[in-house]
Amino acid sequence: MEKKWEELSPDERQEVLFERWLSPKDHEGNDLKFNSPEAEKAYKERVTRFKDAIQLKKLPDRVPVLPIVGFFYTFLAGFTPEEVMYDYEKAVSAARKYVLELEPDVHMGAIGPGPGKFFDILDYKLYAWPGHGVSPDHSYQCLEKEYMKADEYDALIQDPSNFYSNIYLPRIFGALQAFTAPSLTNVLEIFGLAFNFVPYGLPPVQAAYKALMEAGDEALKWAMAMGAFNEEMAAAGFPASAVGVAKAPFDTLGDTLRGTRGIMVDIYRQPDKVLKALEVLTPLMINTGAGAAKGAGLPIVFIPLHKGADGFLSDEQFKKFYWPTLRKLMMGLIDEGCVPFCFVEGSYNTRLKVIRDVPKGKTLWSFDTTDMAKAKEMLGDVACIGGNMPIDLLAVGTPEQVKDHAKKLIDTCGKGGGYIMVNGVALDEAKPENVKAMIDATKEYGVY
């Protein structure tokens, strides 16, 4: 009899998730029908290439290539970011053009731009997006503010769900200003019970719930279009990379709750509360990442890393505030069979010694400006690494320059496997011929 998920070891769970990635299902839950035997073969080779690179057990057939794309395919297809955010078919057709013409080993679907109308309905405040605070021709950008105040740590620590639903959400969604979630812990016996539900009779609260339902309709419509696209690409032989996202607890607190200035002052003025809040956020981040990964049957969980970069924190601050809960998050994901994929923006030269402390063959690290020879030397025996294809080169360089850099990277980091070709930071404005050169050069020089 097959073992239950609870009875499996982390190793076995990882194998199960890789197996599910290798054998995709269609939207009805049946085995996916590939377009041709060749497409099926290509699909399995691509997934296996990643599996081998990540697990460090077998040498892959060649270096896998995983471009991390933002709005790149939008520009490639001649659309504006605003157009693809409001017309899901355009987003899909742009992503299709990118995958079929450039043939990366894995792709990120068409989900990057996100559903504009959904953000409209909820009046999302955390981001400015094309046509809403930034030009229709540009990518969305985060609007950093203190969405959580300096004196709200206790509220977050004591009841994070309540803090998110009743304090944070009303601040980041204009349409949810009157939102209030049921205080379920108030629900006792029969006497006085109904008082707890009075808020749901008030018109502003009802309007917030109405907005939520409308947003849900739109999210579902968008998700169906995105799912159909991933299925179409899988049938054509192109696996999707990751849908699960998690964040280092320090970044969650520092990026979108307290903001950069807020958290940096807090680590002086109220360090104990910061540490406690990070502990409270950690299991929530694990659930977010692992839940999405297991739901989609894809082991990789994307974790963009921000505020732990060289220069952002001292060594001591990194070891005290950043790394312990990031490591806990990674270990929690690994326990669930997932592969944490840390996308390290900026440089991590001074962190390599610290982040080495991860189990072998369970993690993937992509670097931006980190010294890759040093990264290979420090991490090569425990983790798969990637990255460092510079975005400036992809934006203004020539295909020859890109090819030369790709070759250099493969020579430096490819030896013995455990290397994936990734661009340093997400691709928006980049020359299509340069992105193609990055992909083609990997296929040409990266063969083992």
Partner: protein, 210 residues
């Protein structure tokens, strides 16, 4: 006493700094002298940042302490501080890009190193740079950008400065996120700075003050 405030600020001892300021104000000391000491403390913070002893949290926190100190001192001030600066620098994050953290760090470092920085903020329209250069006669311009869209925005800004006939009157430095030597060439800037200290060195080379 005087040395204490300098050190308290430089060592990021907020409570101590506030206590010293309150004591000195109660003793009816010249508020400008107190601010002068706070400023010396900030210069040491800048130096420690440049020497990689301090990092961004330390810089941000020192700014917060200075804010508290200034709020205590300002109501007692009868005249404006006499600020003799080395030279003017027009600074901003280019059009389309709304990132401010990197820009603010560079502005901080230029300021504590004695330059008068005219900070235009983020998402600065091309024409605003041109107008400010004309208005202030600043010999140095700093363009900041985090996203790749900044490459074209910087290029356009520099071209507009050129067509306004100002290009030979200013030195232009660029920096931020993914800015590199390649992008310097692409945009037509005079130099690119890898970090805040590089910006200070560039400004010192162009304006003086080393």
């Amino acid at each position: 006493m005087a040395g204490n405030l300098v050190n308290a600020l430089a060592d990021l001892k907020e409570e101590e700094a506030i206590k010293i300021v309150k004591d000195r104000l109660n003793a009816n000391e010249d508020p400008l002298k107190i601010l002068g000491d706070a400023r010396k403390g900030m210069e040491i913070v800048g130096k420690r940042f440049a020497d990689s002893e301090y990092f961004i949290p330390d810089l941000v926190y020192s700014g917060e302490i200075l804010k508290v100190v200034s709020e205590l001192v300002k109501p007692k001030m009868t005249k404006e501080a006499d600020s003799k600066k080395l030279g003017k620098i027009v600074f901003g994050t280019v059009a389309g890009d709304i990132h401010d953290i990197g820009k603010d760090i560079v502005v901080f470092m230029l300021d504590v190193n004695g330059f008068e920085v005219i900070d235009l903020g983020v998402d600065v329209p091309v024409q605003k740079f041109v107008d400010k250069i004309k208005e202030t006669g600043a010999p140095v311009v700093g363009l900041s950008g985090f996203l790749t869209l900044a490459f074209d925005s910087m290029k356009e800004t520099i071209e507009t400065v050129k067509s306004a006939g100002l290009r030979d009157k200013v030195k232009i430095m660029i920096g931020g996120g993914q800015i590199s030597e390649e992008i310097k060439k692409y945009t037509g800037a005079d130099a690119y700075g890898k970090d805040a200290m590089a910006a200070v060195t560039l400004a010192q080379g162009w304006i003086g003050g080393k």
